[in-house]
Amino acid sequence: MIPNTPRITPELVAEHGLKADEYQRFLELIGREPTITELGIVSAMWNEHCSYKSSKVWLRTLPTSGPRVIQGPGENAGVVDIGDGLAVVFKMESHNHPSFIEPYQGAGTGVGGILRDVFTMGARPIAALNALRFGNCHHPRTRQLLAGVVAGIGGYGNSFGVPTVGGSIGFHGRYNGNILVNAMAVGLAKTDEIFYAAAAGVGRSIVYLGSKTGRDGIHGATMASAEFGADAEEKRPTVQVGDPFAEKLLLEACLEIMKAGCVVAIQDMGAAGLTCSAVEMGAKGDLGVELNLDAVPCRETGMSAYEMMLSESQERMLMVIADGKEAEAEAIFKKWGLDFAVVGKTTDTLRFVVKHKGVVEADLPIKELGDEAPEYYRPFNETPERPVLTPADVPTSVTLADALEQMLSSPDLCSKRWVWEQYDHLILGNTVQKPGGDAAVVRIEEGPKALALTTDVTPRYCEADPFEGGKQAVAEAWRNLTAVGATPIAVTDNLNFGNPEKPDTMGQFVGCVKGIGAACEALDFPVVSGNVSLYNETNGKGILPTPTIGGVGLIDDLSKTMTLAFKAAGEPIYVIGKTEGWLGASIYLGLICEREEGAPPPVDLVAEKRNGDFVRALILDGLVSAAHDVSDGGLLVAVAEMAMAGNLGAAVDSHCNMAPHAFWFGEDQARYVVTAAHGQGSEIVRRAEAAGVPVTKIGKTGGDRLILPGDRSIFVEALRDRHETWLPIYMSSMS
């Protein structure tokens, strides 16, 4: 018997975030009025967060395959072959809305969720990264949100036992009411021991594993699919509470029962909990699923079917167990002190049936819940092109030295040590390059192979020109991997945007996805996993378009990796790539001139590939002693970062007629700064000329100061002091 109370009113439908036409479609699908539990289930499956209904048509345009790709988007995480029978498994996911409401738990459960995605596939997590965006540093909530998010990420990752090796942080007023927390996890698995979500075999036990189900996080995914209004604070109960200790036990228990051959299919309970995991397992395996909620381990008494189906309690898994392996699997879970309960079975009906206390609370067609989700080709406006600024359009009276000091002690370019020292970045003993460089480097098992990892995006470029900005995010990730000597192999993307129902915002999304696609295509850098976060708006004001790219690169021999620190005095410094003095949408323009305008630097993908391949070869052949990607802040910022890292000065000069501020702070793409290893300068120049790669000598290392052309010199130690202290001082001061 299907209960028909309460009656489903239009108000109730709206509260569940379903549009009238979406509800109509659902009615037609099932041919009767749904139960409240069914309404909850469909709202969970068809919300933006779970169904990708606004983004799917565009995501399909991304390049997702390649010779190394074992699993592209659509599973819990992407899987890429790295040789020797091993695969790297990775994904990035947002936890923006929860982190704004409750930063510690929101960020922590973001980390927990993405770690689960990775070990659900059979991989042991070996590294975590993140990409964070906060509001203006003068906004009254920024400090508290930053402190809470960082503590939350550390609190979860440190306890779980995965090194947090890298990330990026930026500040802008457009995130005042909607911060971004994107978490990425990277794991290692054997290529022939990857586990998937698709159920197989009729009549097999479906088992619930992990922590108990409580009333936390109910409608979390629906909340994450709506804009914030003045009532954001009231949404606190929709935020989940994390328990990294339970997750660590879950990891060990899952890997143990996988090894014991007990697992046919596995899906973590993330967004929309039991609903989403059960439907996905069945739908992907072309099977029905029948759940008996009486068996679900509950933390609280009197939970209804509706609450159990929509709870987002953390650290839970759903599995289909191999025939005859139930007892063995149960013993392993009991050993780790975790709940293990048979909560259902696979069927051949293609129905999703939920029973509770003898009542059928839901009986829905399982494929349609997933496959028939609405899909929208939303109208969009292309972002108007901005004018190109020439150096003459950017008059300045600030000296190079003053500008450099100001930039390096600004929120965006200051040292983020205060943040990453709160993350255990050394656990597991494989961190070759810790945070603070172009990319983190993590050894694979006993070496000599290693992975290079980075997260990148420049939202102000995406705002100015979504297509170029999308390209740039990919290109910068690719460059950062290249600068440590890695071969970039694949990316995960985390697309954070405002309300897609607004054509201007949708235009940003479309432009960025096209840009990402073009760059991934040109750079042989397929997208293997990802996540879309829309409705990042508060009171109608959207964030800057922020398509974060998580890049993974492979290093064959970690003794040939490169760092950005200057190594020895007397070495010539070269810039690889063409410098044209592009100041539009630059940090210099925003910070020194207080102007946010102009077209961003165009990304020439052919030049990117050529220059990057050239630099990587220099590194592998031992011709350079330091390498650094040129990005935010331009050439002089890059040189200063290398000097501070190496505690060694340099004398630089542009030797050209370009306006100095354009030459030194312009943000032209496809560039690197390198220093020549002993006596290799002429060989670098010879090779560059042969390869048609622009190369310019801009100075020489040495001394304890940065000696700038026609300007005062700056002591490296003093500069580093300013660079390192901005954030700690900011965080300890009261506003």
């Binding site: 503590a151 550390g154 609190g155 440190n158 306890s159 779980f160 036992g161 328990d243 990294p244 200790f245 339970a246 660590k248 036990l249 780790w336 002190g337 990453w420 020292e421 709160q422 993350y423 255990d424 970045h425 050394l426 656990i427 597991l428 003993g429 494989n430 961190t431 070759v432 050894r443 070496g447 970690l558 003794s559």
Partner: protein, 233 residues
């Protein structure tokens, strides 16, 4: 040499410790489940590894200190057997009463992961003979509750008996509590038991053992243990 690394629910540096024992000390290593009541026969060294045993809920180390296996660890220590507690292991040793004092939250109330300077206070124990007295080591820390404290009498006694193993130091070797990473009294980073056979320390020597990864200042501790056990055999 035969070592037992105890695995509690929530331990997470057990592999790092086991790796250092194998790689540097050439030790045979057993990972021992907390529910066991005996150590493997002929265990020379017991290691309580870093991590967040029982989630650090209640109080760091408090639940693990009462785990089944701890009876055997205590008996091993009482017989004069070697016990090394690193980070969470140090917290467990204090909670179990095998070492005096307690580790409270870092003075700045934040978790900190950083390479610090450690001064070797004595180089004549089973754990430190490969070092020189007053040698400065660079070893990472990674903890939120590493602020060592104890009552005045205990601190006086530890100092008088030479039971401070390592102190957080500045780059010039001087000790300044205010400059330390966590506010520990007298810069204490590690202490010995009365008979010098039990060492608890917050820093992670097991993470600085390979030139490929970074510095190798942690090797001396494992080399010392290997040499001490070889000499005793």
């Amino acid at each position: 040499m035969k070592s037992a690394v105890i695995l509690f629910p929530g331990s997470n540096r057990e592999h790092d410790a086991a790796r250092a024992l194998k790689l540097v000390a050439g030790s045979n290593v057993n990972i021992v489940w907390h529910g066991e009541s005996e150590l493997p026969k002929h265990t020379d060294l017991v290691v309580l590894p870093g991590g967040f045993s029982y989630g650090d809920y209640l109080r760091c180390g408090a639940i693990a200190a009462r785990a089944n296996i701890m009876g055997a660890v205590r008996a091993h220590a009482e017989k004069g057997g070697l016990v090394l507690g690193i980070c969470n292991g140090f917290q467990i040793l204090c909670e179990a009463g095998l070492l005096p004092g307690v580790l409270v939250r870092n003075a700045k109330l934040r978790f900190v992961c950083r390479e610090v300077f450690l001064r070797v206070e004595r180089a004549d124990t089973a754990f430190t003979r490969a070092y020189r007295k007053n040698e400065l080591l660079r070893i990472p820390i990674a903890h939120g509750e590493g602020n060592y404290t104890a009552d005045e009498t205990t601190i006086k006694q530890l100092e008088a008996e030479g039971r401070v193993a390592f102190r957080y130091a500045r780059a010039d070797g001087q000790i300044d509590q205010a400059d330390g990473p966590n506010g520990a009294i007298n810069g204490i980073a590690g202490i010995y038991s009365e008979k010098l056979n039990v060492l608890g320390m917050m820093p992670h020597p097991e993470n600085n053992i390979e030139a490929q990864i970074g510095r190798t200042d942690g090797r001396g501790l494992f080399e010392s243990l290997a040499a001490a056990l070889k000499a005793a055999a």
